[in-house]
Symmetry: C2
Amino acid sequence: MSRTTTQERVGAERLWDTTVGGDVAFLLARANALSLSRTSEALSAHALKVRSYSVLGVVVSDARPTQRELSDFLELDPSQIVALVDGLERQGFVRRESDPGDRRANVVVATPEGRAAFVAARASAQAAEERTLGALSAREREQLADLIRRLAVDDED
Amino acid sequence: MSRTTTQERVGAERLWDTTVGGDVAFLLARANALSLSRTSEALSAHALKVRSYSVLGVVVSDARPTQRELSDFLELDPSQIVALVDGLERQGFVRRESDPGDRRANVVVATPEGRAAFVAARASAQAAEERTLGALSAREREQLADLIRRLAVDDED
DNA sequence: TATTGTTATACTCTATAACTATA
DNA sequence: TATAGTTATAGAGTATAACAATA
């Protein structure tokens, strides 16, 4: 379990045998927290956070999203997208281009620096993910990805 | 997909075909956010939040945890446990008992009101979970629970 | 009138350090 | 000297409302 003393956790480990310990929602939250903290750590070397990495990842795919589309897709408030794009623009990773078809809208595009930064950051992020998924076989990883995709995408709200 | 216009999402849905759209970490975060918001909504009718519900769930199992054990198990700072137990105590759901074996430590125990509240809240939370897991068969739910448990519990940090 | 992006603001979370009482 | 609980505070993250430009 733990490479550290293990001693400190002995008392608390017994609490897994409680009502919440078996909850799917609880386990999901725990797994996500673990994944998130490792990804954050990996991205910090590239001056990115999970949020800005997500934005950059969409933009780098040449989807030319408007800020509104980023807001819808990432389920973040438009005002948060403003802050994120501001940050990425200050870093020189993205640019705003005015959409010729709708002059209210800004299309966000990647700079060459942004592409390079994303490639490097993605390598780190995937190494972190590898660590999180380490206990699972290739087959099990596919299963997991399939299952959570169906949870995440079958969004009725 | 969406019961609302559906129209607004058409633009953003295409962004699933980007780099981040396939990331396990991204999907995990999305699934967790969905689960969390539904659980929060369900618990709000019982004057509980996800955090206080978790604490109450451990306490109701008669594990008699100290605040330190709650802090270790839930991976929350001791000061956050203080606030959570304060809240639950004000609601009349838990009591602090001084540990006779170590007078520095407080053991947290459930009151009858706390037990009743938890039973009711758990029913709501499970209904919400049912909604989140709705797309999955019983067999798939077991698989998912098994897989994420191994992610969540095989914690090397 | 409705929508895109923006600004401002308040509220919740989270992290940290310092303090006390016990060990 | 170390640990359990507590308090206070600052930072990050989140949600909301109002506004200007454009549709």
